[in-house]
Amino acid sequence: MDELLENPSESECPPDWTVDSPAHLIVERNVIGANVGANGYTTLEQADELERLLRLQQDDRLLDIGAGRGWPGLYLAEKSGCEVTLLDTSDADLRRSVRRAEAANLLGRCSSFRGSAGALPFRSRSFDALIHTDVL
């Protein structure tokens, strides 16, 4: 299993002002409940519910399909202590997810791969839990 994405340098991953502008941050915090680079429908409260229902533990390996910029996979890893693998088709979003992982001190427990849900680039029986949010 080859990791497809290397950690980007700052110059390769400039801020995305369509997400990170002051106005976007205010809007996102009021809608989602946190600044996590989200523009979908999974709120902070729902991410907490996911962690509870999946009973994530420190030794678990979690796969987030269609992870985008890392929400909510990175949050679940931060909260539960599990390892997380982020999968998305967008290089740009994955680079931003790695930057978010770095900011949350999660690089040691986070890996990012480019790929699609229909042809997952992983060995059989690799993960303890799997999530996707509004991908299907």
Binding site: P22, A23, V27, R125, F127, A129, L130, I131, L136
Partner: protein
């Protein structure tokens, strides 16, 4: 896709996903009916079971979906000028139109969002 998910999970592994979808049979049935090609009740549960999952649970999240769609639309409207500066007018309008479509389709009873949970045997 669910079969691929089943394959990469360890035995006993858990899957959880949110999905929003049009409800079939609830619209007018015309060419522009948003429910055309939608999902019938229980379809996702059947798909999970066909992929080999057990202990399937479905939780209706439509009320929260509506609330979040309204919040996106409303908060973005408050910051229209600032958001257009970074997104561009066309992108801003397209996103607002999408959020509004979700609000209207839920209020019309033709779209739902659910959380599904299941386990690999």
């Amino acid at each position: 896709m669910l079969r691929a998910c089943h394959k990469v999970l360890k035995p006993g592994g858990r899957i959880a996903f949110f999905t929003y979808f049009a409800r079939c049979g609830t619209g007018s049935g015309g060419d522009d009916d948003p429910s055309a090609g939608g999902s019938r009740s229980g379809e996702h549960q059947d798909m999970l079971q066909a992929a080999g999952f057990s202990d399937v649970v479905e939780i209706d999240m439509t009320e929260q979906f509506l609330s979040t769609a309204k919040a996106w639309y409303g908060w973005r409207q408050r910051y229209t000028a600032e958001l257009i500066q970074t997104e561009g007018k066309a992108s801003f309008s397209a996103k607002q139109s999408n959020y509004l479509d979700h609000v209207r389709s839920v209020e019309a009873g033709v779209r739902s969002r659910c959380l599904f949970l299941a386990r690999r045997s």
